[in-house]
Amino acid sequence: MPGEPMLRQLLLITDGCSNLGTDPVYVAQMGKGRGIATSVIGIVDDGALGERGRTEARNIADAGGGMCRIVRATDLAQTVQMVTRQTMQLTLLQVVNAELRGIIGGDADALPPETRSKVAGVVDRMSEEVLLELGLVIDVSASMASKMNAVREAIRDLEFGLKARTGESDMFIVTYPGEQGETAVLHRRIGGAGMIADVIGGLRPAGNTPTGPALELAIQTMLDSASWPASHQHHVV
């Protein structure tokens, strides 16, 4: 018997272009194939992102079935919330549309407005109640140093948002590169106390940008079923 439906999504926050390891676009594509949507937020403050960075950000999001936003660091909190919420709606709407195509031969956009608004209500309620596993993949390469406080507070703000939902959620963070030369490091909240945002405060940004390997670690973490409380039987939407 299938359990409660569950959403899995990754959110990549970066200000540059990957320069080490596997191609992140390929990794995002793999993740999509396993039911994990990847969205990207690019930060533009010092122009480090560049045209190449923008293109890569867009390509990762396209391949990962998520959305892409390019913003300034001060708009990060608002954007993180918005992207998380809209990616959930997007994924849920895809599921609903797949069902609708089977029934009416078209998706929700083809419905008359009144009916479409009912579908939107269902999608909204599901996005409030569905189990959510969220992996934040955060670039802490040298150029991010000036933005770390903004990133930390945006994550804290996201935690407030997730805590207010009716549905349960779990969140982990992958930062890259690691301080001891690893390509990426996994952070989880230990026990019930504290906020995961605070791990960001203790990091020293340095090194290059292995975006692909970091996404691989995040996807691997999600696929590892031990990452979710055993009390929940779930299937991936």
């Binding site: 001060t74 909190a77 608002q78 709407l93 407005p113 479409r116 608004s117 939107a120 703000d157 207010a164």
Partner: protein
Amino acid sequence: MPIGVRFAGKWRGGSYVALRLVGSGANGSVYLAERGGERVAVKVADNPTALSLEYDRLLRFAQDGGGRAIGPRCIELDDTVIGGVKRFFLAMEYIDGMPLDAFIRLRGPEWIAVCLVNMLDLLELLHSRGYIFGDVKPANILVQNDAGDVRLVDFGGVAPVGQSVKEFTEAYDRAWWAFGSRRADVRYDLTACALLGLQLAAPLCKADLERLSCLRPVDRAAWLRKHAARAAATGDGPIAEVVAVMDGEVRDLDEFRRRLSRTAGQRRQVSADGMARLGRRGGGREGRRRRRRAWDRTDWGLLAAVAVFAATLVTVLWFGV
């Protein structure tokens, strides 16, 4: 959407001409449009989900059971093709009003309490049906007339009590300032109104907000309390009432409204007395004090310029002659 473009809804057949862009936000742009000789507001978006939800909320909550208008009357939800692109739109009554912050700048801080009281009345109607407004901010509150009557616009943030607040603006968000959670309850709106009242009386500048966005919420709260203390010392407006909400002393909308009404009443009394004295003696202290502007950098600059000019004049006269 280009101004002047004519478009018709696919399902309902309503025909519109876009007249002017009124505003745009994360969820779309709002246009003033004409529909069969009537002026209407049309919100255009690419994302049909958010727009459909707003339509649903508007339909259910824009008017209360007794026919009192809380928000704009809902006209229709439809879609159309403009310039080869499919667009979803929501048509509603056009409310000819001024955003709350502009109104206060124009009319003075003594109107903050009056407008907040009017706003609390509307929120209470929404709360009595188990929903909160959520995205309280000046742009979403339009003042309709000289009496300070307000209407709420943008029902996209309206949320049932018990669920999470999904649309909010950081500067007026309870969780952002560490005054509570982001779960929808009546006190979420109450706190947002208090934060709004404070920022109408003593606005935060963009640089303040950008700096605060990098601080922990508790540090933001500490900063805000200092800001409120400064405002209470120099400014006008319902600062004491706002601080009482932040301190958890005011527990519901009704209590906040009572305190605000009292202040609004006193203020009116004071200015009436002032005017009376003004009439009797040709200018009392009370009447003049209210008109005085804070001494700012421009004034110092002017003073310096006058001093330099005077010094030059004296020097020229002394040595020149």
